[in-house]
Every structure is written in C-alpha cells, then in structure tokens.
Symmetry: C2
Subunit: 864 residues, 2 copies
C-alpha cells in the first residue's frame, strides 16, 4: 500500500483545512474527517498518524519520531481511534479520555462536578487496564459496585482503590503522565491490529493480508458536564425505505458509543410512538442537527450517518459515514441525490450494487423479525415466502383452491410438478443445483426457491421432512423460505413486500438510457411473455419450447408421441401438438410486437417427458391402454447414463426429425397468422441447441427451410426468419467461425457450456460445491458467476472467430449468467449484442449493463 | 487432376520403353504396364489413351484426334481395358477380341481351327452387343444353346444367326470394320464411367467426384490355339501368411479372366492336395512363370500378382498389381523385401497400415469360413472368439472351471463382473460404447468384445438373448464374436490363431528404431504389467488404481469404507486397503524396473463400487450386517444425475482426502520397499484426474507431499516422485499454463476430453452415433479417432501454453486414442512425449509413431 512517494507524508499530520490526508496513507476515517474539516464543519482538533508509522510501532519496538507532548498543547483530554485503509475492515476500539490523572480530575471536578470528573477518570483507568494492560475488566466493575453499595456519592475513593489494584496487579503504578498514557495506548492499538483474531476477523471482511492501520488522535469533546452535554448518532434517511426521516439515538451526558450501547437509555431523534425524542426534548438541538445533516449531505453529495458530541449545546462532528441503507433505500437515496442535482444520473447508477435490486423486486424477511434457521440449501431464486408445507403438486393445487399459502417440498421436481409449482408460494427441494428444474422454473415464475437442502431428508412415503437434528416437519407445518440466502426459517416471520413504484422505475429508465447491451428475457409461456413485457425487456432471448409440453394435457400427447410404435401414431401425436404450439406462438408474437423472439427447438432428452414414479407409470399405462411392463420397458430403454450428454438437442432433431419439423411449421404458421390478423411482420429467430459440428446446423436448416417453403405456399405469406445456434459445447465455441458461416446468430448457453468446460454436472455439483468454494478452489460457484478464465475464454475465442467469419453475426447469451451482474459486465466487455435471463432478473442485468457502459466510457475518456 | 502442363502428353501414347505414362494422365494401369515394358518384360504392344481424351469422348460428342486405324497396324485383334487414376476405383470391364469379323474369323480358323475361331467371334459379338449396344446377353446365350443342342460342331452358323439377330434388334448391321468396332467400344467405356451406378460404386471405394478414367488399347495375346495356350493369374506369396508359395489359377485355352471365373475348370498353380496343378501338368511353364514372378518382384520391389496369357508356350504379362495379402502377410512380405535389400526398413514401415497389425495380434475368423451374422454392435476390442453363451460372472467362472470356452453376455458390465470377464473368451453387451466398462476391461485383457448390440435384447431374468428377428438364444448356445467389426456370428466358424513369431517382432523392432514418440501401456494389475512388458512398452502411462479395488476381496473392503459411519470405521477400511495397494505397487515397480510408471489416483465416483442388482445389495447387507434398507438408502444417496460430471476424480480427493492420502502412502511405501529389496530407485509419477482448476492440484500436492515426508521419516529412504495432471476437462486444457507451473507432467485424457468438448457421453452416444457418422455429421466416431478440429485444438492450445509456462514439462496422452494410428500421428505432430494405450494396441501405436517420424523426416529433407 505504501510506496516511495509516501515518504513526503508526515508521520503525524494535523487534520486541518487544506491538509493532504489520503486514505491509503492515513486510513479512511482520517481522510473522511479531513473532508469534514475541509468543508468547515465543527470537528474537534485531530491528528492523523500514518499507517507506515503505526507499522513501526510494532516492527521496530516502539519508535515515535514525532513529539507526543505537542498533542497535549493545552489541557484537553484526547481520544485515539483506528483508521484502517478501508472502513469495512474494522479496527481496534476507540480509547477515550487519555491524559486524565489525579490532578486533571481534580481540576475537572470544579467545572463538571466531582462525580462526573472521577467517573471519567474511573472509566479511563478501566479501559486502559483492559485494553493496554490486558487486565480483567470485571475486577474494576467489582470495585465500582462495592463503592456504590457502600453509598459513596462520587468515585474519588473508587479511583484510589482502582489505582491501588492496578499497581498491585502490574507491579507498577498506573501511568500518571498523559504522554506516557498516550504512548502506551498507541502501541497497544498497533499491537492488537496484528493479533491473530483481529487478522482472521478482517480477512473475513475482505481485507488483504497486508492491510494497514492508521490512527487518529483527537481532542475530546467531553459530552458530559452541566447543561447541554451528550452524544449520539444520526442519519436523515430511512434505512429500509430511503425516505427522509431523522433516525438515530441521543444520550445526554454520554461519550463515544454509549448512546448506541445495547442497554442504553438513549432517546430516538425524531418524534415517534415509542416515547421521548430529541425532537421533543431539545427541539433547538434537533433543528441544529438536522440542518447540519442537510449541509453534510449537500457537501459530501451523499446521505451520511453522523457521529456527534454535544458540548455546552454545541454540536461537534466526530465522524461521518454513508448512511446505512438496504437495497431498496439505496435506490431511493440515489435517485433523490440525482434529482436534487447533487450527483449525476451516471453517478447514481454507479452507486448501486446490481444485486441489491433484488430487495426492491422480491419480498424480504423484515430485518427486525426474529428468525430461526432450521435448514439451509442453495438460494436458487430470490425473495422470501411463507406457507404450509405440501409434498405433492396435487396438494399444492388443493391448498391454493382453499386460499392457503403453501410451500411445495420435493426431493426434486419434474415436469409433473409444474402445475403445483404455479400454485405454491415457494419451492424447496432436497436435491439439485441452481440450474435444476426446480430452480429454473421458480426463477421463471419469480417464486422464492431453495434447492439442494441436503442436510434435510425428505421422506416422500411418510410425507415428512427430517431436519439435521432429527426434528420432523409434516404437511401443514409453516415454514419460510429465503431464496436469496438459501435459508429455511421456522414459522412466519414478518415479511416486507417489494415496492416497484417510484424511484426504482425512474432508476431503471436511467439504466436503459446509458446501457448499450440489450437485455432480453427468457420466457416459455404466454404468461412469461406478459411478465417480460412488464419488465420492459428488449426482446425474448430464449423460448424453451419443451416447457410448452409440460402442461397436463400436452404432456399426455407428448408421451403418446414417445410411445407411438408406428409412423401413423407419431404423425397423429405431432398433429395434435402442432396447433398447441402454433397457438402459443401466435399469442407470444402478438404480445411482443416487433421485438425479437428467439425460439429454441426441443432440447431435453425424451425421457424427461416420462414419469418417474410407479404410480404415474401405472396411470400412464392405463391412459394409453398399454401393459405396465411395456411402459416400464420403454422408460428403461430411454434411460441414459449421463442424460446431460446424451440424445438431446440437435441430436434429437437429427435422429427424430419430425419433431423439429413440426416445431418449425408451428412457428411459421403462427407468424403467418399474426401477419394476417394484425398486419405485424414477425421475423422469428430459430435456435438449434447442443450443436457441436457445423453439419448438424446444415441438416436442420435444410429441413426448416423446407417447412418455410411449404407454409409460404400454403398461406401465400412470405415467411421471414433467422436460424442460429446455441453455443453450449466447447466444440461449438472453438468451431464458431465454421458454424457462423451458416447461421445468423449465436447465443451462448453458458449453463451447459460451464458444465462441459469444467466437466461438472450442475445437478450434482451441490455435493461438493461448498467445500470447493470454501477452499478457494473455485472463487465462486461457476453456475452463479461466469468463469471468465475458462468458460469466458472459450466465449472470447468464439466471439472473435464468429465475427471474423461473419461480421454481421448477432451474438448473445441466454442462461442464468445473464442475470448476474459481473457476468453481464463481462458480456459487455466481449461485445455481445444481448444477454437474456428470467424476467425477474432483467433489472439487475440492465443496471449491470449500464454500469459496464459507463465504466467503459470513463476509461475511454481517461485515455483521451 | 489435369493441368496446363499435361498438354504435352499425346492423346494416345504407345506404351514403350522410355515412354512417359504418368498415372494421373493415363491412369494407374497404363502406368503400371509401362513399368513392365520399361524393365523389358514381355507385354503385348499397347497404347494408353489419356484421361483428358476419354473425357472428350463424352463431353464433346465423340471426337478422336488420333488415328484409330494405326492401332490395327497389323492383323492382331485388340483389347480395351480401363485405367482409372487409382486402381481402387475400379472401372468398366475389359473388352476382348476387337477387330474380329467374318473375314478375320475365317483366316483365324486356319490356324486355330474353326471352332476356336468362331467361338472367339461369337464371344465378341455377345460382349459387344451387351456392353456397347446394350442388348440382352441371354438372347445370345440362347442362340448358342440351340446351336449346341442341334449338334453343330463349330459356331459358324451360330455367328450368322447372332449377327442376324443383332441386325434385327438394332435395325443396323453388326459393325464389320475393326476401326468402327474400336471407336464404339471406346465411346461405350467412356460413357459407362459416367453412369450413375458406376459413380456410386466408385464413390464407395473412395473415389473423388471428378475421378478420371484412362483407357488402354492392347494387342490380344490370344490364349487359345493348338498347343500351349491359356491364361491365368499368379502371385508368389501366401495371401494369409505372406510365405513364399505360388498361388493362383491357370486355364488352358482361355482368355482374360476366364481362369478366375466362378465355375472355371482352372487348375491351381503349385502342387497341393486339391488335384491337378500347373506345376505338375506343365512344369516348364510353371518354372518360367515362377522365374518371371521373381524378376518382377526384384524389379518392382514388391510381391506382385501377375495377369498373364500363354501363347504358344510363351508367357505374356498383361498386368501386375501388388500381391493380395492380409495384415499378417503384409508384414511378412515387407520384412522379406527389406531383408532381401529390395526396399529399406523405412519403406517397409511406411508400407503397412498400422491397423492391419491387428490381424497379427488377435485370432481372426478364417477367410474361407462360411459365416452367418446374427447380430451386430460396436467392435470394441479386436480379435475373434468362440464360446458358449453365459449370462453371469459366476457362470463364466464355472464354465472356465469345466474347461468350456464361454462368451459372457450382459446388458452392460460393472465391477462385479470383472472376475467373470477374466474367465470368458469374449464379451458381448447390449449397451455401452467403445469406452464403456466392458470395452475398456476387454481391451486391457486383450479379449474380443462387442458392445452396444442394441438390435438384440438381453433378458437377464429369462437368461435369453432375443435377436432382432425374434430368434431366441439361450445359455450354452455357441456364438462367435468378431471384435474388429462388431459382428456376432452363429456357431463356431474356423478361427486363425495369431502368430507373434518371426517377422512381426523384427518389424516392430524397426518401428522402435525410427519412432521418436514414446509408447507406453495402460496397465492396472500386475498381470497387465507383465503383458505390457511382453509388448515392449516404454513405460506405463496409466495405472487406474480403482481397478485394483474391483477384485472380490477388495471390493468388500472398499464397500466397508463407503458405508463406514465413523472416522474409526473409515480408518479401519483404509488400513486394510493400504497393504493391498502397496503390495500391488511393489510388484508393478519391480516388474517395470527403471521404466516410468504413471499412477492415477482414484477416479470413478464411489457408487461405481456399489452393487446395482437387488440380489447383490441383499448379499452386501448380510455381509456388512446392515439392514437392507440402509444399504439401499446409501446407494440411492450416492446416485448422480450425470455421474461422468459428478463427484469423482480430484473432487473425491478434495472432499474425502483420506483415500488419496492412503494411495500416496501406498505408492511411497512400495517405492521404499523396492529400493530396500532390489536397490532399484523408483520415481513414480502420480497423476491427479479430472482437474479443472490449479488450486485442486495445489491442495492435493500438499497432502501428497506430507505423505512423502512421513514415509521418508519412517523408512529413512528418500522418496522421489513427480506430480502431474490428467488433462480431461476443456478448462484444464485452457488453463494449462497455470496448471503446468505447479506440476511435472500433463497427460491428456482424451476419452473424457472428447466427451466434454462435444457434450457427448460415450456410454450414451451409441444411440445416435451411427446416424451421425452415416450422415457425415461426424466424419468418424470421435471416441475412435481423435477429433483434430475440436479436441485436437484444445490439445494444441494446452501444449503451447504448458510449454511456454514450463519448457521442461512432460506431455503425454493416455486413453483409447493412444491406440489409433491417425490419432497417434496427430500426437506426434503436437510434439507430445508419449502416448499410452492398452498393451495389445501398442504395436499399432508404435508403427504409427514410426510412420509419423519418417514422414516428418521426409518433409524436412524435401524442404532442405
């Protein structure tokens, strides 16, 4: 952190107007305090000791190459506070009232009264004994309790006894000399920064191994005395909603953090129902504080939280940090700062972490609610939901019919559960990862979802969830899922509903203004399409056509197709499916108007359409009038060792071409119908999944072209369309030049591309992912955050090759990474045309895209 | 094929000594005939008509810009033969006796006798009618039959009737003029070359779409006449063993291919048990022919098959092509040619297709045997085997105990079948691909194996194989597997045993002399190690340690490990496994001496060690004194959606580190023991499987290092070893620079790398692979032949990056591609240090490596 140039900085610099106090030299707090001083705010005189100097306190014994005595230039007491290079890293506790001794106490007693003065002295002795001499604080509490029990009215004798106790314990007198006190305090704080527990703690907060500490020495504003004295913290926006309101604590006759101590008798600031407040008790002070807050906001261009001390009705500022805020409040605050002209829209956009938008988009457990975590898994779809446990799709439907909120709990979900998932408020599965069936469907529906809760066992036969401690939950028990964190909570803690009004809409419109990357939605049903439109997407980047077949009436036909023994049987089934698909497409095209829609041809292996439980097989056998044995045999026949790498995607399209032909026909007929009805010229994008060789594309393209010609002949309407490839095998990425030649667009399917690049099944990765992330093997779950080094490099190779082969080619990404902010930024840097993700995640993608565009602009301006 | 420079070649060139008759201008046969003429062999005078000219016969109508009359410069009859640019492409049939007409026949009758002369005329009329005029040959046969039935002694009248019939049918007289005959024959042959069926036929033989045909016009050596006349074919090596022997057919009073016609009365050449022979009947002629054969061999530097005609006891050569030979004979012939100084060792090596070595290494079905193919699958391990069907490993053991050869037939195989596989002569499975369990184990054992025979259904309950036509095979029925082609034959056709003696050993020693790429063997057990040594490998490139756990006594301990609930239980099981592994390693290290041995740490997911059938689960439960339900629950718990992409390889090593620690300890203890006993310093290579990130390597390395230190402390022997990574995920290939920094070698596991690059499970690919290969989607099954464009590019990237990061890094390939010749050549071109494959495939790898080195040398010499 320190380089040669820092040599020009003094070891101990007075924090004055015009002083140069950079955070990397003196720490962040010292720098912030200088900011307050710079703008003329009332701050007690302070000095910053540089990180380099503090390091020398321990490295070279205890050398202080500046005069400590100077800091006691008058009779003020001093405080010492930590000033790490980053506030988030924390630091040792503040030590107050340095410089007090018998003589000083006696002198203070005259102005403050004996009790207050000796109380300060006693506090200092205790703090010093604990923090510097490492004695046990309880011994000193005991002395005080005894004094109080003995009815002593001030602490003068208690101080004597404490000094005596200290002398006995340390075999040395308590230091009387203020300079000596200060010296030892400084050394002690420097030493504690290097203690092992401090290191672990700050590493957990993201500090690097060589994180440095600066220190601040500051004159005490006492906060105690006769009249208007006290201390507190204040911010002027709501932490949870971002609205303007005075929020904080004030305690008369207090110092430091006493007002926010757990059992403090502090009052609130603004008037509310809970009792007394600063506003009512000291309206003048409240007014002064509020004005100060507004001034600080205007000067620092942010809503701040102030630490202050009141000395004789005069407010001293000790510190100012950005006001606490949750995600929703952050947006509100940023928008108001921009509207007030304090920051630009660009700065507002850059100030919000994209993921924090989740708090605006989904219900959240109230911060004040007491929660009990009874199980945990992978948070697969954000938001919180409460409901009664149900174990089957049927029970979920029944529960919805009764108006009862329910949580669908399954070992894993499959196509048969879709309708039940629609009826539930949330989904919990024992198995699966963040791209399992449950997770993908839940995100599409915007339902909270926790998957891979492997520490709980679900016994479907007994309809029970057995928690890791043996406790058993049954149907009807109420639980709450937190889809952001993967937690399962007991009962129904208070939830805060999302609020999409006001600031967030304004904020998103700014993101739209600056981003250059299109953001499309993934949508599988007309309902999804409506949702996507509501979220203002730039088009649909992925229609998983197979999801259209999972509805109860359709899956039956799909199964008939799979079981058909004859060409006639297959044709009949396809004949039934064709109008269903066509009608869906008509509705989708109509909803999207002239926005692009990218339709992926059937992707999953056929066995995904078949039942897995004996009961369902039995039902299917009866339904189709087949012996059960034949149904079982066919299902077994279609089993695969590694279905993810089996007969699916384009492999189905080539080995069973009638299905893709039906789908292409349905798309073209729908486009023609929409044109006829609405005069809307639809140009669908047709996407071929799981391609690994160019000839796969050529073969399918030829068949699709034939369908187009047939539909043209039949409808007399010109059919326009684009054919593209979902790049989800490493080979397709490597061969992108070759493949690009024969198609109009490529869309990275980074879920599968990640699976194949790592050799990692997303459904099975849950077993070891946490061990891997905890051991830093993977910095992040690569299914959450795009792995730029591996998967990302394949994308880079593909982008370069595809654009070389065909500069006009359209490039996108569809997959869960499209809703992850870091991944979206990476896509921007690759120069993709769009990303596509679940509608509910598009705000995150849009903000990330805007930030990426702004960052790029800033870099380019810096270059020029 | 033709360029401007060919303009210098005449349209019709006399084939004379010194003439320039290149194969690409005049076709391969014309060129070969010129070779015979050049060396002074007796060849009837001939002319070559260039391909370009033949093309004009059809392209521009029928322009002949040379004088046909010149070819009839004397009274000889002529033949016209095809001469395609490559012999393999075939061509139209030869037409003989052109130029005969009533006048000529009458004149010939004087020397040959009327019957012979008119018979020639009649033959020509028929051939011309069929091949040129496209009449039906049966009509002419009928006329002849009637003449014979009428007791006509010569064919003079028959000729008249045939000419009359021709006139009537064609509404034009049969051409009398020899030049006109020749002209029409030439045009007809040129036209038939461009017919659709000819095109399909030659495309199937590998001809390009623009394949050209040249023609040869040659004076007839008649082969009929009074005295020593006849024709035949001869070669002087055995087709099946390559030994010196006269082999062929001779028919007195015959022409063209009459001697080899199906129902010909031709005699054999050499004396044998089957009746008369040329050697006995015409010893002089036989001697002349044999001498001629030897002269041709010496001059053409190859054993040739001769087509000859005997005219008045004088032998004319009509053609010479390389003698027919199977793979075994080819090696024998090549070695003898080199030993005779006719070709160099290098030329001998280049002359043999590496895969043809299989015929020397494994039993083959005799070419003469009548076979009935009753089922087919994927040929997964070469060679042929006959035996009685057994359905279980136990039955295979029992069968072996009785001395009965058996074929183990399973739906698929697993660890429990290993001992049964050892007892069987061959393996047949309904499911799986060429890298399935059955295939890999069979190749390791050198057993013929057919997998993925999906057109047959195996009913394990009934112990039956149901063939595609409904026929049922039961236990005890005799079948024969052909592991090269994937065929299943009925019964026990005659097999030819391999012969590893003599030429093949010499030949392989030449390959060793020239190759620069090391060839190692994959070996899992001491028995495999002995086999690998017998094959003269340069080391062991892959020890799959898990295979050591599949023995009956060991798998029990392995299962105890998996089921252990407590740390103690796990330690107990590992304590039992440690000495087993150590003893194996001791034996392996001792066997390999100072050759390198690369040991892969445990790779498969744990569930591969668990039983799959209910019976076996029951047995396991009893064995371990556990309730069956618990056994089933644990097995279900370990199930994975995509096991190939699940918790295996290094992921096991990181999540359950005790296993890798045990393995490392066993390796080091074994090395120390071997050093103590034999004074042999072993430096094992330890390979980590399924790596996708460098930190995986670092974590395992740290643990292995600890084990080394412990064993050193315990044995007082310095432990030396190398740690390397199996590159089998695309990510490991991309990150090879990063990974190379931390290890000593990389070995490409191209089986898995292919799976992941294509997103293709080798066990499931069988369902669609044939459709894919037939539709040219994949030019070859990428599990057979390394895909150079995709997988190969990843290897290229990895090689470059790894060598950049660490020039000293050792690079290899272990996997099935190491036994495929094209893939081995690719590895040579990449600059790998070694390839490794099953011992039985190493001869192929060695030859391919030698050829690659020689080809490279030739290219480099050409450059300089």
């Amino acid at each position: 952190m320190m380089d040669g140039s820092s040599q020009k900085y003094p070891a101990c610099a007075p924090i004055t107007k015009g002083a140069d106090i950079p955070a990397d030299v003196y720490g962040a707090r010292a720098s912030a305090i200088q900011g307050l001083v710079e703008h003329g705010f009332p701050v007690p005189k302070a000095w910053a000791i540089s990180c380099e100097t503090v390091k020398q306190f321990t490295a070279k014994g205890f050398v202080v190459d500046f005069d400590l005595e100077d800091l006691f230039e008058d009779t003020h007491l001093l405080s010492v506070r930590s000033s790490a290079q980053d506030r988030a890293w924390g630091g040792p506790e503040t030590l107050l009232n340095i410089g007090i001794n018998a003589k000083k106490a006696k002198s203070l007693a005259k102005t403050l009264g004996a009790k207050t003065a000796y109380s300060l002295f006693y506090k200092f002795i205790t703090d010093y004994a604990v923090m510097v001499a490492r004695l046990d604080g309880e011994d000193f509490d005991l002395i005080l309790e005894e004094a109080e029990a003995a009815g002593e009215t001030d602490y003068e004798h208690a101080v004597d006894r404490a000094l005596g106790f200290y002398h006995a314990e340390m075999d040395a007198p308590f230091p009387d000399c203020p300079v000596k006190q200060l010296r030892h305090v400084l050394r002690s704080l420097a030493t504690s920064w290097n203690g092992p527990s401090a290191k672990i703690l700050r590493a957990a907060r993201g500090a690097p191994a060589d994180a440095d500490l600066g220190l601040i020495v500051q004159r005490m504003a006492l906060g105690v005395g006769k009249g208007g004295y006290g201390s507190g913290v204040a911010q002027f926006v709501s932490r949870t909603r971002g609205t303007k309101t005075a929020h904080g604590r004030y305690l008369s006759q207090s110092q430091g953090r006493e007002a926010v101590a757990e059992k403090s008798a502090a009052t609130f600031l603004a008037k509310d129902e809970r009792g007394t407040s600063l506003e009512e008790e000291y309206p003048e002070l409240f007014k002064q504080l509020t004005d100060l807050g507004e001034q600080v906001r205007r000067v620092l261009k942010n809503d701040m939280k102030l630490e202050f001390t009141v000395e004789d009705d005069y407010i001293w500022l000790l510190d100012a940090t950005p006001a606490e805020r949750n995600g929703r409040a952050a947006v509100e605050i940023a928008v108001r700062l921009a509207e007030d002209g304090l920051i630009s829209k660009e700065e507002a956009l850059m100030s919000i972490a994209p993921t924090s938008l989740n708090e605006s988009l989904h219900p959240q457990v109230s911060r004040k609610a007491k929660v009990e975590i009874i199980a945990s898994g992978i948070g697969a779809s954000p938001g919180a939901a409460t409901g009664k446990i149900v174990f089957t799709a049927a029970a979920a439907l029944a529960s919805e019919a009764r108006g009862d909120a329910c949580i669908l709990v399954r070992v894993e979900t499959g196509p048969d559960d879709i309708r039940g998932m629609h009826s539930a408020k949330g989904i919990l599965t024992e198995r699966g990862g963040i791209t399992s069936h449950a997770a993908v469907v839940a995100r599409g529906l915007g339902l909270p979802c926790v998957v891979g809760a492997e520490n709980s066992k679900i016994d479907m036969r007994k309809r029970e969830v057995v928690l890791s401690d043996g406790e058993v939950l049954s149907a009807g028990d109420v639980i709450t899922l937190v889809g952001d964190t993967g937690e399962v909570l007991r009962g129904a803690p208070k939830l805060v509903e999302p609020d999409l009004g006001g600031a967030i809409l304004e904020f998103m419109s700014w993101a739209d203004e600056f981003r250059t990357l299109s953001v499309r939605g993934n949508a599988d049903t007309p309902a999804d399409f409506r949702m996507a439109r509501a979220f203002g997407v730039d088009g649909i980047g992925l229609v998983r056509t197979e999801h259209m077949f999972f509805d109860a009436d359709r899956i039956t036909v799909m199964r008939e197709l799979i079981f058909a023994d004859t060409e006639d049987g297959r044709r009949d089934a396809l004949g039934l499916l064709l109008p269903m698909q066509r009608d869906d497409f008509v509705e989708m095209f109509t909803l999207m108007g002239d926005l692009p829609v990218c339709i992926r041809l059937l992707d999953p292996p056929l066995h995904e359409f078949l039942p897995s439980s004996r009961d369902e097989m039995q039902a299917l056998a009866e339904n189709m009038d087949l012996p059960l044995s034949k149904v079982i045999a066919r299902i077994e026949d279609l089993q695969e060792f590694n279905p993810m790498l089996g007969t699916r995607g384009v492999r189905l399209g080539i080995t069973a071409p009638a299905i893709y032909e039906m789908q292409a026909r349905a798309i073209f007929e729908a486009a023609a119908l929409v044109e006829k009805k609405n005069g809307l010229k639809v140009k669908p994008e047709i996407m071929i999944p799981l391609v690994s060789a160019r000839r796969e594309v050529d073969l399918i393209k030829a068949r699709v072209d034939v369908m187009a010609t047939e539909v043209e002949a039949q409808t007399n309407i010109e059919v326009q369309y684009e054919i593209g490839v979902m790049v989800e095998t490493p080979r397709a990425a490597l061969r992108a030049n070759n493949i690009a030649e024969t198609c109009s667009f490529l869309s990275f399917g980074t879920n599968d591309l990640t699976q194949m690049t790592y050799g990692l099944s997303r459904d099975d990765a849950g077993r070891f992912m946490s061990v891997y992330v905890n051991n830093d093997v993977f910095p992040e779950d690569p299914f959450h955050r795009l792995d730029e080094e591996g998967v990302g490099e394949l994308m880079e190779i593909a982008v370069e090759r595809a654009r070389n082969a065909k500069p006009s080619i359209k490039l996108g990404l569809c997959g869960e990474h499209g809703g992850d902010s870091a991944s979206v930024k990476f896509c921007h840097s690759l120069g993709l045309d769009y990303v596509s993700c679940s509608a509910f995640r598009t705000p995150i993608a849009k903000l990330a895209a805007a930030q990426a565009a702004l960052a790029q602009k800033a870099r380019e301006q810096q270059k020029n």
